[in-house]
């Protein structure tokens, strides 16, 4: 049984169909990529999984349980954590405090200094421990991406949703990120679903790739197959020409 599945998920905003009958499965322990041109519905799918949006029809099942009626603030308690494409941090909190908020759902029974120790370990794990005491506002974009990642990890999720983790990173940083994501998956026994434009990262990292265009699945499978798929090439080239 897959850890996460979207089952004929459909979502529309007024006249625009953002998700059109999307079905997708994420096996436990795998890294799955969602790609597609801008506006294809990738982030919409993430927002539907984390219940920021409500599906019009279809279902989202995590670990055998439908998320359709789960409150947005409960999703993380079930074990689904996420990062955001354009960063949703707490700018006036320190980096450490940002990560501590990530542990909010599980922190009620923990002592404050125990939580702090865990949060610092998480920061060290993603390589930004030296920034712990700084306010998030004003740090470089790449560092803030790591803060979001650490905040998501602090909730000890089973499924991690990464929305464009390589956005704004340079060549070397992307290589580093590939190594980091793989290591986190192995050490923390995570399942990872990621949205990304950076093709090399997707091809290096993902075991399965799901291609969306205008809210509709146009291809799905191992990266090498998807890369050769005529429908995918058409969608990307078409997008390029139109732009």
């Amino acid at each position: 049984m897959p850890l996460l599945s979207l089952d004929s998920a459909r979502l529309r905003f007024g006249g625009i169909v953002a998700l059109d009958d999307v079905s997708l499965e994420v096996a436990e322990g795998s890294i799955v990529g969602v790609i597609g041109p801008n506006g294809a519905g990738k982030t919409t799918a993430f927002n539907a999984i984390t219940r920021l949006y409500r599906l019009d029809s279809g279902d989202i099942v995590f670990d055998g349980r439908s998320l359709r009626r789960v409150r947005p603030s409960r999703v993380i308690r079930l074990g689904v954590a996420r990062t955001f494409q354009n960063l949703e941090l707490f700018p006036r909190l320190t980096v450490l405090e940002n990560v501590l908020v990530g542990a909010h759902a599980s922190s009620r029974l923990q002592r404050e200094n125990e939580q702090q120790r865990l949060a610092l370990e998480t920061l060290a794990d993603v390589g930004i421990a030296e920034h712990a005491a700084r306010p998030a506002a004003g740090l470089p974009f790449g560092t803030l991406k790591r803060v979001e990642l650490a905040r998501a990890l602090a909730s000890r999720p089973r499924l991690l949703l990464l929305d464009e983790p390589a956005g704004g990173l340079n060549h070397e940083e992307v290589d580093e990120l590939v190594g980091l994501i793989r290591r986190l998956r192995d050490e923390r026994e995570l399942t990872i679903l990621l949205v990304e434009h950076h093709m090399r990262l997707v091809m290096d990292l993902c075991e399965q790739v799901h291609v969306l265009n205008f809210g509709r699945t146009i291809a799905a499978g191992p990266p090498a197959d998807v890369q050769r798929d005529p429908a995918v090439i058409e969608a990307y080239l078409g997008g390029e020409l139109a732009a």
Partner: protein, 311 residues
């Protein structure tokens, strides 16, 4: 520990100075210092709502009115112990604050500010409607009045207790959740924070503080509660105090409370054209100056001085 030491020293200095103050001041000035203590409580409370969770209220005078009338009515009708009426004011305003916080969940920013403004305008009218119970335009008189010294002691004892309470609430998980809600609601929800719980809780706590301040406020006016003393200007004064105070600093709240508590008395002796309005002109100018020079309030100033001293 190294971080805590300055905080403990600050507390001892403030506590010692406040304990010694009545011995060196005249009765009138003890009354003024009590006034600052009253604003300290109100500003501290509004800081929890506006500073920590980012919900602006221009309606805290309404909660002060509820607290003040609680004290006046209980004392007049039942001869209840005055300290006990303060506890009742705290409890009643906490509940009213939670109730006001519920509809406020649908509002934010300037719309929330306007809704609370409506509260500031309408609540002081209630005694006119229920004049049999609340005394109408003539007001309600407590059965006992208190001395300047009693008021000073009560105001600053309440300040100390409520300051420690605020510190306990804000230092850990709950305080962090408040500030997370302020900085990003989406990220807060995604991190498992229940927005309705924390937003209404902040409203309740903040209103409870205002209730105690209102209770003391009535005792400061010879135990007399009447609609006109809880006007819109009072709500604005508390908001100004919170803005002047800035965030997360005992010294900041002291500065904010002193600003709104003392400035009207000080500025009425400053000669300005048309002495009737001189007070308002000085007060207004001072607010503009502080906001221009200290956008993060006195708390921001103190943080900058500390950084400068360390460098």
């Amino acid at each position: 520990m190294r971080q805590r030491l300055p905080a403990i020293v600050s507390l001892l200095v403030v506590g010692g100075a406040l304990a010694g103050l009545p011995f060196t001041l005249s009765g009138y000035h003890v009354g003024l210092a009590a006034q600052v203590g009253i604003f300290f409580v109100a500003v501290l409370g509004l800081n929890i709502l506006t500073g920590y969770t980012g919900q602006i209220s221009i309606g805290h005078g309404a909660f002060m009115a509820i607290g003040g009338y609680t004290t006046a009515v209980m004392s007049q009708d039942h001869h209840t112990n005055l300290v006990l009426t303060m506890l009742m004011a705290f409890a009643i305003c906490f509940v009213v604050g939670l109730l006001v916080g519920l509809p406020a969940l649908r509002l934010s920013g300037v719309y929330l500010a306007l809704a609370t403004f409506a509260l500031a305008v309408s609540v002081p009218q209630l005694p006119l409607k229920w004049s049999k119970f609340l005394g109408g335009r003539d007001g309600v008189q407590t059965s006992k009045t208190v001395s300047h010294l009693w008021l000073y002691g009560a105001a600053w004892t309440a300040s100390a207790i409520l300051f420690v309470l605020a510190w306990l609430i804000l230092r850990g998980r709950v305080g962090r959740a408040f500030r997370a809600v302020r900085d990003s609601e989406i990220a807060a929800v995604a991190s498992g924070i229940e927005l309705p719980v924390y937003k209404t809780l902040a409203f309740g706590i903040s209103a409870a503080y205002a209730g105690v301040a209102g209770s003391l406020f009535v005792l400061a006016t010879n135990g007399f509660a009447e609609p006109s003393e809880f006007g819109v200007v009072l709500s604005l004064q508390i908001l100004v105090g919170a803005a002047v105070a800035g965030l997360g600093s005992l010294w900041g709240v002291l500065a904010g409370a002193a600003f709104v508590g003392l400035l009207p008395a000080v500025s009425s002796s400053v000669p300005v054209i048309g002495s009737d309005h001189g007070r308002d002109v000085v007060f207004g100018s001072a607010v503009v100056l502080v906001m221009l020079l200290l956008p993060d309030g006195f708390a921001g100033l103190f943080a900058r001085v500390r950084r400068f001293a360390r460098a």
